[in-house]
């Protein structure tokens, strides 16, 4: 029987348009959460500024060294004629600031600070990015394993994370860099490559538990969601569940924590350089320049630029990461 209320079968009851309000009806292609986050991010001016700075920094890191050389700068070239030999300070005001040396020059050897900052971006960002990648990969794999498999595997991985977190990180980083880099010849890797690889490894390797914990927690809560059961009840293998069901949901936290881990890794690299176990000279890094500058604190211009470079970079990543987190946050929806 048909009553007036029963609107002829069930199909007519569907009216998704009522929910998807404000969207062009033709746009049947739905918007994923990622796209929505991106739209929100675009509205967040602060985060976008951070993002723009990051893009700029990355471009600078990649093309900067070529550009400055084309412009006639050489980050390694000495300009000792511009140094007062007895005080070792640059001649002239503001650290020898001039057209040729817009940020002035370093004391003692008179290297151009501007071009060293540009050149330093490359190494600093490379280390920060790759070490972040490393910790994210390790952290995600182990965190997901612990969270999904549970049981003694979880116990083992969680305790390992605890142990990692109990190590005085910086101390160990120094020890390892010191010990391993002494034996370059045996490892048959050339100077800075080994150093950089080592720094990436150490920073990345010691940071994974942080991201691991987060991923584990997220996995634990995702595992309880019914779509995982749904997938299991369809006969999905654990691999399928982990990679097809869980991983897409972890992309957001992974992305957010990566953008927040990068600045902390930049600072970490700077700290290691400051403590004397950074990249070998004369290759410039910001942390290395800063640690040099500490010895010449009476010439603040020297500390100013690398300090500012670190500050701006870290701030940009933090702002962007923060914005990203807000954009992905379901509560803010």
């Amino acid at each position: 029987m048909a009553t007036p209320l029963d609107a002829q079968g069930t199909t007519a009851e569907a009216q998704p348009e009522a929910i998807v309000s404000g969207v062009d009806k033709k746009a049947i292609q739905g918007r994923s959460l990622g796209q929505i986050a991106w739209m929100r991010l675009k509205r967040d001016k602060v985060a976008m500024t951070g993002g723009a700075v990051i893009v700029f920094l990355i471009l600078m890191a990649i093309f900067g060294p070529m550009v400055i050389r084309a412009m006639g700068f050489d980050p390694l070239e000495f300009h000792q004629d511009l140094i007062d030999p007895s005080t070792l300070a640059p001649k002239g005001t503001f650290g020898g600031m001039s057209i040729e040396h817009p940020f002035g020059i370093e004391p003692v050897n008179g290297r151009d600070i501007f071009s060293r900052i540009v050149e330093g971006a490359w190494i600093s960002l490379l280390i920060a990015f790759l070490s972040t990648l490393l910790s994210v990969v390790i952290g995600t794999i182990l965190g997901m394993t612990a969270g999904y498999v549970g049981g003694w595997v979880d116990t083992l991985i969680s305790r390992t994370m605890d142990i990692f977190l109990a190590f005085p990180l910086l101390v160990f980083a120094i020890a390892l860099v010191g010990v391993v880099s002494q034996f370059e010849a045996d490892l048959d890797i050339k100077g800075n490559t080994l150093r950089i690889a080592l720094l990436i490894f150490i920073i990345g390797f010691f940071n994974w538990p942080y991201i691991g914990r987060i991923i584990r927690g997220q996995t634990l809560s995702l595992r309880e969601r019914e779509f995982v059961d749904a997938s299991r009840s369809l006969g999905a293998t654990p691999w399928y569940i982990v990679f097809r069901e869980l991983l897409p949901n972890l992309i957001a936290p992974i992305l957010v924590y990566s953008t927040l881990l990068i600045p902390s890794n930049i600072l970490f690299e700077a700290a290691l350089s400051f403590l004397g176990v950074g990249v070998s000279p004369p290759t410039p890094t910001w942390g290395g320049m800063l640690s040099e500058a500490v010895k010449f604190y009476t010439m603040p211009h020297f500390a100013l630029y690398p300090g500012l470079a670190i500050f701006i970079t870290v701030l940009a990543f933090n702002l962007f990461g923060d914005g990203l987190r807000d954009a992905f946050d379901p509560k803010a929806r």
Binding site: T3, L5, D6, A7, E13, Q15, I19, S21, G22
Partner: protein, 341 residues
């Protein structure tokens, strides 16, 4: 004037996506000792209304208009501080989810004591005694021991009882219960409903019960207000609403419910579609996209906002259909469809 008079209440929230008209011109009144039931689907503005009466939107981003008269006092225009003084003492509220509505870090007793001492200048000891009394009154066994328990140590039903004890601790004259039993099992729900009925009788307070379960309203209410998209669509006595409903939405609600007291029907009679978003309320009658009788409104359905007009039998309905037609539809088509099979 009635004990509680709400006139043309409007509560709007400006948001990034637009203005949310959560409550849009709501009026009703309530006497001491009487119960008003408010029903409606999720998001129809029920909770916003109850919070509005308690003045809990003040200081937030809400835009409130209209009047609320409680015992001769106007509350919308009153100072926040004044309304705060009335809260808890003159009017109190019971929330839907007693677990999240109680602070997890304080004992049940402490929370009742706190509520009591805001309005009564008594020592902690006296207040504690009172709290134990209240817990006993709502039927919690061993109240002198359980008073020191934390909310999570109570079962769902006991928590709701404790919430009620807290709300009643200052003998409020108006009690608003926002979905007090939705989170509970049927057997416990029945206990709580009994308890509320008994307490209301005892305290002679005015009670507003908010729910989307028509069964619950039927159990308790004298008057019933049906809300849809922030507006009242039908308002009358319980008898009016259940025996002589005139709004298609009310019909839909009744048709959607499988009923234990009748022979099972072959099919339920649902309302098509889903509730509108309160930002983009459909033009004209908000219900028109879901209304099967749009063609009987003379084309006004999707253009003109219908008024809330009294029916012949004395209750209020917001519908463009001629009164005649509504009545005949109910008598001849809907009612039989609901009853026979």
């Amino acid at each position: 004037m009635s004990f509680l008079e709400v006139k043309d209440l409007r509560i709007h929230f400006p948001t990034d996506d637009g203005l949310v008209k959560s409550v849009d011109g709501l009026s009703f009144s309530l006497e001491r000792g009487k119960t008003l039931g408010i029903v409606g689907e999720s998001g129809s503005g029920k909770s916003v209304t109850s919070l509005g009466i308690l003045g809990l939107h003040k200081g937030g981003n809400a835009r409130i208009g209209g009047e609320i008269w409680l015992d001769g006092e106007e509350l919308v225009g009153a100072s926040a501080e004044h309304v705060r003084g009335l809260r808890g003492k003159k009017m109190a509220m019971i929330f839907q989810d007693p677990l999240s509505a109680m602070h997890p870090y304080y004992t049940v007793g402490d929370q009742i004591i706190e509520a009591y001492r805001i309005h009564h200048d008594v020592t902690k000891k006296v207040a504690r005694k009172h709290a134990i009394d209240m817990l006993a009154r709502v039927g919690i066994p061993q109240p002198d021991r359980r008073v020191d328990d934390y909310p999570h140590q109570f079962s769902g039903g006991m928590r709701q009882r404790a919430m009620i004890a807290m709300a009643l601790s200052c003998d409020p004259e108006l009690l608003i219960a926002d979905e007090p039993t939705t989170a509970l099992d049927v057997t416990v729900q029945a206990q709580i409903l009994d308890l509320m009925r008994d307490l209301q009788r005892e305290f002679n307070s005015a009670l507003i019960i908010i729910t989307h379960d028509l069964g619950v309203v039927a159990e308790l209410s004298d008057d019933i207000l049906v809300m849809y998209a922030g507006k009242c669509v039908e308002y009358g006595t319980a008898q009016d609403i259940f025996y002589r409903p005139e709004h298609p939405y009310t019909w839909g609600l009744l048709g959607s419910m499988p009923r234990l007291d009748r022979e099972p029907t072959e099919r339920l009679l649902p309302i098509k579609g889903s509730p509108p978003s309160l930002i983009n309320v459909p033009p004209g009658c908000a219900f028109h996209p879901r209304c099967p009788y749009l063609d009987r409104t003379d084309g006004k359905g999707d253009t003109v906002v219908p008024e809330l007009v009294p029916t012949e039998r004395g209750h209020l309905v917001r519908c463009h259909m001629p009164a005649e037609e509504r009545r005949s539809l109910w008598e001849n088509e809907i009612k039989p469809a609901l009853e026979t099979q």
